[in-house]
Every structure is written in structure tokens, then in C-alpha cells.
């Protein structure tokens, strides 16, 4: 075979342009100052740690909504500049959950599909780090098979009437907005075509009840959200009716392509290194070094995707591959740390920083391969991409 299927999944080496690289020091200095007071457990799991104060400060610095158009209060910067900010935040263990979804996907979605009024009202809040978004996709009976969802939106004389239940909705109990996927055409034969996306002002609507679900580590981040006869205005529909699946897929592409897919517990690797002796056993060094080699490899691949996005391409297949590999990498880290270092994982407030970070991450690591689509589903997408499905 002269040509290879791998020609479609080649990651050309990309370098950050000086313009992007030059932001790094500024971000690092800011983070060093701001993060010193934040607890190890909170820092351990960056994009799941919620801290409105921190997000507002980051917004003040101009580090949120960087790629959004200046016309609406965004900063009109490149994806690569944003890339530097995001990776520095993750590596430093910055608590980014408050603004994370808005910055990554909701802002962009609104710019593309929102009404002029929505953009004028909401984008400035996003860039200020003062708008928290929730993603209402999953339902009790629709997880991986998302398109089977049943939560419905019916057209009324002056808006939409919502009924049904969403589940696993991160931050729904404290977010300002939710972007949700509902069924607008009850004909289940039109599986994908019957879905539409809506913007819901959680602070304004009546009839929405989020119930936090405690996770195994004791945290309360995700919710079951019930909608009972919730009336929302006509302009809540985002994009054309029936276009929800396509828009969701675009959102998921943003969700799946960033550096958070291998860096979400990099803080642990740093703390592990601080707790290993320089003259430790060669086998320990070798195992640590393999993880470093993987990190270098993933950084190269992830940056290559960012450059492709900046270039206006849509690297769906490469992004799925990096998400899959990245997820394996980070899910392996807590277990690896336990193998290499004798210090036991501890609960918050007991033991040293490394032990607390480890204690939290061991417990939350199973979720790494669930959020944003499971590896089994990602592999199905890859299989399609390489032409066997």
C-alpha cells in the first residue's frame, strides 16, 4: 500500500507564534499570586473546581472569552493565545469550573447562533468571568445514546413549554444559564432531526428544580434537573428549530479538542515529582519518564490540533484520537503515583499536599472517561473516521 490511512491522522508539528507565547509569563505571574491561598484539593482537579471570585479576577485580566469578537466585549484574540492561558491554568491547578463551559463552548455557540440581543447581553458577562453555564444534554435514559432523549419543548403562542428531566448536569444548581437540548418534534423516527437547542436563564425561569447528586468523593457538582411546565420566551431557541444535533456536535468538538483532555490532573504529576527522591530506584525513574514522554507526545498532538483549528480546519478525527489518548494518560496518573510513591492518599486536611491531591484524584478519576463522551463512544467515532464503520 503506497498511501496509508494514517495520512489522514498526521499531526504536523506546530509551534506557538511569539504573540501567543508572550502571554505565558503574564499568566504565570497572575496565577502564582492568586493560587497560593487555594487549598490543595481544590487545585487538584482544575476544571471541576468552582470559584466565582477567581473566575472574576481572571476575567478582569482579559483571560476569558479571548477568542470572542470585540464587538460584544470579547477580546478578538487567536485560539492559540487562548490555548496558552488554558494550559497554564490547568497546570497550575487553577479552579476554573465557574467559567469553564462558557469560555470553552457556550460563548462561541451564542456568537454563531444567538440573537443580537443575547450576544449583547451575555457575551460581556462571559468575558468578565461572571456567567456560569451548564450543559443540559444527558438524561436518565439517554447517556451515550444522547439522540434518544425525551425532554420536550412545545411551541406555545408566545414561547416554549418545557417538561422532562436532565441528569448529571454539572453546576446546574449554581449556574446562571443552561444550554439544553430538547425534543421539539415528538416523532421519534426523526431521532436527530427532532432536536433543538435552547438558552435558559436559570435565574429567571420558574419550574426548574436542580437536585445536587453527591458523588463518591463527597462533592456536589452535578444535578438531576426537573423541568415542570417551564415557560421560556420564544427567542430562547438557539439556531434553527431541528438543528440542535448539529450544533451539539459542534459544541462537543470544542469539548473534545482542548488541552484539558490530558492536563486535568497534571497538578498531581507535579506534586508526585516533589515527593520522589532524586536518587530513587531506576525503575521508578523509568516509569516516571515514560509518563513524561507521553505528556510531551500529547502536548505536541494537542498543539497541532489547536493550530489546525486556528487555520480554520475542523480536525474531528485527530481531536477524537487525542481525547482518547489524553483520557488514558490522565486516568492512569493517580494509580501510577500510588505505585511509585509510598505516601498514602489522604482526606482533605490530613497528610501533605501531595497526599491530599492524590486522595481526591483517585476518587474522581473514574469520571475522567465519562464526561464529554466515553472512550467506547470515541472509538466508534475514530472507527468511522478511518472508514471501517
Amino acid at each position: 500500500m503506497i498511501t496509508s490511512i494514517t495520512d489522514q491522522i498526521r499531526f504536523q508539528t506546530a509551534d506557538l507564534p511569539p504573540k501567543a507565547e508572550s502571554i505565558r509569563t503574564e499568566v504565570r505571574d497572575f496565577l502564582e499570586l492568586e493560587l497560593s491561598k487555594i487549598s490543595p484539593v481544590k487545585r487538584s482537579h482544575s476544571w471541576e473546581a468552582y470559584d466565582p471570585d477567581f473566575s472574576a479576577k481572571l476575567g478582569e485580566k482579559g483571560f476569558i472569552g479571548m477568542t470572542l469578537p470585540t464587538k460584544y466585549g470579547g477580546h478578538g484574540k487567536t485560539f492559540l493565545e487562548r490555548y496558552v492561558v488554558v494550559e497554564e491554568c490547568l497546570v497550575a491547578g487553577a479552579p476554573t469550573a465557574f467559567h469553564w463551559v462558557a469560555d470553552r463552548q457556550s460563548g462561541q455557540l451564542l456568537v454563531k447562533y444567538g440573537t443580537e440581543e443575547q450576544k449583547k447581553e451575555i457575551i460581556p458577562k462571559i468575558t468578565a468571568g461572571k456567567a456560569c453555564f451548564a450543559i443540559g444534554m444527558s438524561e436518565p435514559n439517554s447517556g451515550s445514546d444522547l439522540a434518544s432523549l425525551r425532554c420536550k419543548a412545545e411551541k406555545t403562542s408566545n414561547g416554549w413549554l418545557i417538561n422532562g428531566t436532565k441528569i448529571w448536569t454539572s453546576n446546574a444548581h449554581r449556574a446562571d444559564y443552561m444550554i439544553a437540548l430538547f425534543r421539539t418534534d415528538p416523532d421519534l423516527n426523526k431521532k436527530h432531526g427532532g432536536l433543538s437547542q435552547f438558552l435558559i436563564d436559570l435565574k429567571a425561569a420558574n419550574g426548574i428544580t436542580p437536585r445536587p447528586i453527591k458523588n463518591l468523593a463527597g462533592g456536589e457538582n452535578f444535578n438531576e434537573v426537573s423541568f415542570v411546565d417551564v415557560e421560556i420566551p420564544e427567542e430562547s431557541l438557539i439556531g434553527p428549530e431541528g438543528n440542535g444535533w448539529k450544533q451539539c456536535t459542534e459544541e462537543l468538538a470544542l469539548e473534545r479538542s482542548g488541552p484539558e483532555r490530558y492536563l486535568s490532573c497534571f497538578y498531581l504529576l507535579r506534586k508526585l515529582i516533589a515527593n520522589l527522591k532524586k536518587d530513587c530506584d531506576p525503575s521508578v525513574k523509568a516509569r516516571l519518564g515514560k509518563q513524561i514522554a507521553s505528556a510531551i507526545t500529547l502536548r505536541n498532538m494537542s498543539l497541532s490540533i489547536a493550530a489546525q483549528l486556528e487555520d480554520g480546519q475542523s480536525p474531528t478525527l485527530p481531536a477524537s484520537i487525542v481525547k482518547d489518548l489524553g483520557c488514558q494518560f490522565e486516568q492512569e496518573l493517580p494509580g501510577l503515583a500510588q505505585e511509585l510513591c509510598e505516601l498514602e492518599p489522604t482526606m482533605e486536611g490530613i497528610g501533605n499536599e501531595y497526599q491530599q491531591v492524590l486522595g481526591n484524584l483517585i476518587q474522581v478519576a473514574p469520571s475522567f472517561s465519562l464526561r464529554g463522551g466515553t472512550p467506547e463512544i470515541m472509538r466508534g467515532i475514530i472507527a468511522k473516521g478511518i472508514g471501517i464503520r
Binding site: T3, T13, V91, A293, I296
Partner: protein
Amino acid sequence: MSELTDILQDSVNKVLHEKLTWDSLKSIEENAWSEDLWSELKDLGLPTLFLTEEQGGMNASWQDAYVVLRACGRFAVPIPIPEAIIANWYAREANIQLPDNCWALVDEKSIDVSAKDVSFNDVGVPWGRLANYLLIIGDNNLRVAEVKNKSVKKQENIGRDPRDLITGEAKILEEASIDLCSNSLLYLGALQRSAQIAGAASMAFDLAVKYSGEREQFGRSLSKFQAIQHYLSDLAGLVASVDAISLAACNTLDSQGLRKNSHNSLKAIAAAKCQSSDSVEKISRLAHQVHGAIGFTYEYGLHYVTRRLWAWRSEFGSSNYWGEFLGDLALDAGENGVWPLITK
């Protein structure tokens, strides 16, 4: 990517695809040499691609060379073209012209260079049985030597490529100084093998995908079974990552050279060989699993690449060797230095 990269990519893959069928690989394996292939690839200018235009080469970069080295892996090139490419890189660095067919690289430390005529004893040289010249690589200098007499212990690696031990004497023809890091041959060998692994892995993957589409069981092609799809998706990721890191190492070498202070190049090569060697186990295992028994036969040619993958995995440092190298760097860098280590 330069224009030269594209030209090389097309021309080299085309020629190798035509020349290195499973039948021809089998016959070359039986004879341990193909003069015909050697002269054809020489005529294409592959061994000398690094030489400057005045020296008669293409003044290639490592990125250009990468596509050739990878193709050599992909098509299991059973002659020392990659070795010759590296020998000529040294020639460009030292600004000397090598005699024709001078591709056998040896480390100065394995040779007795105390006299004008050097002697060597059981020195490992790929295709050593055919070596008429030696390029002896020291930390600060390069010597070209003509072999005067030699005895050969013929042996092969599990890829069936000659890995001979030679004993004898050689006469120094030329000596030149070079300004490179110590053990440069180890680093370049590791990079060469990473590129070859990337190529061989891509072939193993392509064969598995193709076969899974052709072979039917339970009334459908294997590729329709989810377990097989997941193996192939897994393979796609591993193959892409080996390619990405090996190419990235070539880029770093292009921009930062291989001097005493080229720390980023050494680190990039270490990461490439660590990652590629580590991935070989799973890549070859999955590619074979998808093939069933047919992949275990000599007749079906998957083994031309998988046997080489297994051999190359250990040559010029295993994943553990380079892992320890990187582990030391990480521990020295400490918790605040490890991220800069990864991004630079």
C-alpha cells in the same frame, strides 16, 4: 513541510512500494542483500540527501529525512539506507566527502584508535559483512577508515537484518573535527529507529484495517465487530502518536541542532524513542490479533514489519532506558520545572 518533503514522500513511497513486495522481501532475506535495490535507491539520491548541493546532495532537513526514514520502516527496507543517510549527515557536519559506500557507523569507544591503523574486535556493525569503510564517530572528531582486513561473525536481529560482529584492521583516510554532543551516534540511532518504528507501525495498522474489511466471519466482515473496531481505533491512536513525536523530534533537531548545549534535541529524541519503543508492544499485538492465524504465517507479510518493530524496540535504548533519562530530567526540574520541560 517543504516542497522537498512532498517530493520525497511521493517518490520514495512509490519506489519502495514497487520494489519491496513480500516476494522480494523474502528473496532479499534469503540472500541478505540486494545490489539492485541498493543501486536504485542510491540513484534516487537517498543516502546522500543530507549533503549540500555543492557536495552533490539535496541539503535536506531532518523533517525531509524523516519521510524517507519512515518509509524505510514502512516498507521494511532490508539494506542500510537509513545508516547511509546518517553517515552523510555527519559528512555534512564535518564538511567532508565520504568514499562511495561508506555507511558503517561505529562509536570511537568501541575501536582502538591509538595507532594510525585502527583495530577493532567484535564490533557490532549492521551489514558489517559488506562494510568496506568505517565512519568512526568520536565526541569531537570523525574518522573515515578503509577496512584492510576483517573477519565477520555473521548474525541477524529478529527482523533478519544483519547485525554482524567484525574484527580486523582499518586505515584512516581522513580525520575531521565535529562540534556535537557526546554519544551523538546513540541519539541519532534512537531517532532513526523511532522514525522506522513509525513507518513499520503504519504498515501494520494499514494491513490490519485492510484485512478486517476482507475477511468475513459470522456472515460479516471482521471490521463490523465492535471489538475489532476498538482494536483498530486504539491502533490508529498509537500509530499517530508515534508519528507525531518522531516528527516533532526531527523538527527540534532542525531548529536546535545536536551540539553540546542542544538539551531540547536530546530530550525530544529521548521522548520519541521512549514513546515509540513503548508503543510497539501493543501495536504489534493488536495488529496480529486482528489477523488471526494468517498473520502468524511466513507467507502473509505482516511479519516483515512486526519482527522489525520488535527488534528496533530494543536497539539504541529501550523505553526503560530513555524513560530513566527523562525521569532524571523531570526530577532535576522539580515540580515547577517539569511543565517547562514538556513545553520547550
